[in-house]
């Protein structure tokens, strides 16, 4: 199984809503990532988890809250988002950190904030 699975595929939320994005991998990878991608731009790193511990936060606003319940799961909790947060949110994993390792991406969650 070489898949990274993300749910939901699409999400529309209001600025006062609380929602969560979910990511799962069963490749035994010990590093997991959240990326944000705006249209026609490359992905931008948000968070890195290594061995279930948050190792990198790329100065992401606190309205985005990551969580790694176990080695296979990664969540991104969303609260009080702004319309400019609308984007494709991608989860990825690699065998280890650093990300010089081969990176596997999920299919993403297309988020619209109204």
């Amino acid at each position: 199984d070489t898949e990274v699975t993300q749910t939901p595929k699409h999400l529309v939320m209001g600025m006062t809503n609380k929602k969560s994005l979910k990511c799962e991998q069963h490749m035994g990878h010990r590093a997991m990532y959240w990326y944000k991608q705006k249209a026609k731009k490359p992905p931008e790193l948000m968070f890195v988890y290594s061995y279930e511990k948050l190792s990198i936060n790329e100065s992401v606003p606190s309205r985005f809250s990551p969580e790694c319940p176990n080695s296979s799961l990664l969540n991104l909790h969303l609260h009080a988002l702004q319309p400019e947060d609308s984007a494709l949110y991608l989860c990825a994993s690699s065998q280890n950190v650093p990300t010089g390792e081969k990176l596997f991406f999920g299919s993403g969650t297309q988020l619209s904030v109204l």
């Binding site: 992905p43 790193l45 990198i56 990825a92 950190v97 010089g100 081969k102």
Partner: protein, 109 residues
């Protein structure tokens, strides 16, 4: 940080044509990855290629690390090859990949 430049920015191909995409990077790297993002957003890792040449079906890639560039070859292109192709290299901070701006490929039937 390391700079990654991809060319051309856009490429329109007739089905069956061959093409070459280029990725230049500004500093020494110990690996390079090529990704294909399809029109539905899925990013697929095509190649993990620190140096040399690799082939995967109709796609092949060559990295010349000493000259700081990599090439991605698409042969006998198909409409399913459409999408955006990104190359990425590790930044000086090992945890972070630096992506190029991408090449948007459109293959017409």
């Amino acid at each position: 940080g390391i700079q990654v430049e991809q060319s051309p920015p856009d490429l329109i191909l007739q089905e069956g044509a061959n093409s070459t995409l280029r990725c230049n990077f500004s500093d020494s790297v110990n690996n390079l990855q090529w990704f294909h993002q399809n029109p539905w957003g899925q990013l697929i890792n095509l190649f993990y290629i620190p140096s040399g040449t690799k082939q995967n079906g109709r796609l092949s890639a060559t990295t010349v690390a000493t000259e700081r560039y990599s090439l991605l070859y698409i042969s006998s292109s198909q409409t399913t090859d459409s999408g955006v192709y990104f190359c990425a290299v590790p930044s000086s901070n090992d945890y972070k990949l630096s992506f190029g701006a991408g090449t948007t490929v459109t293959v017409r039937a």
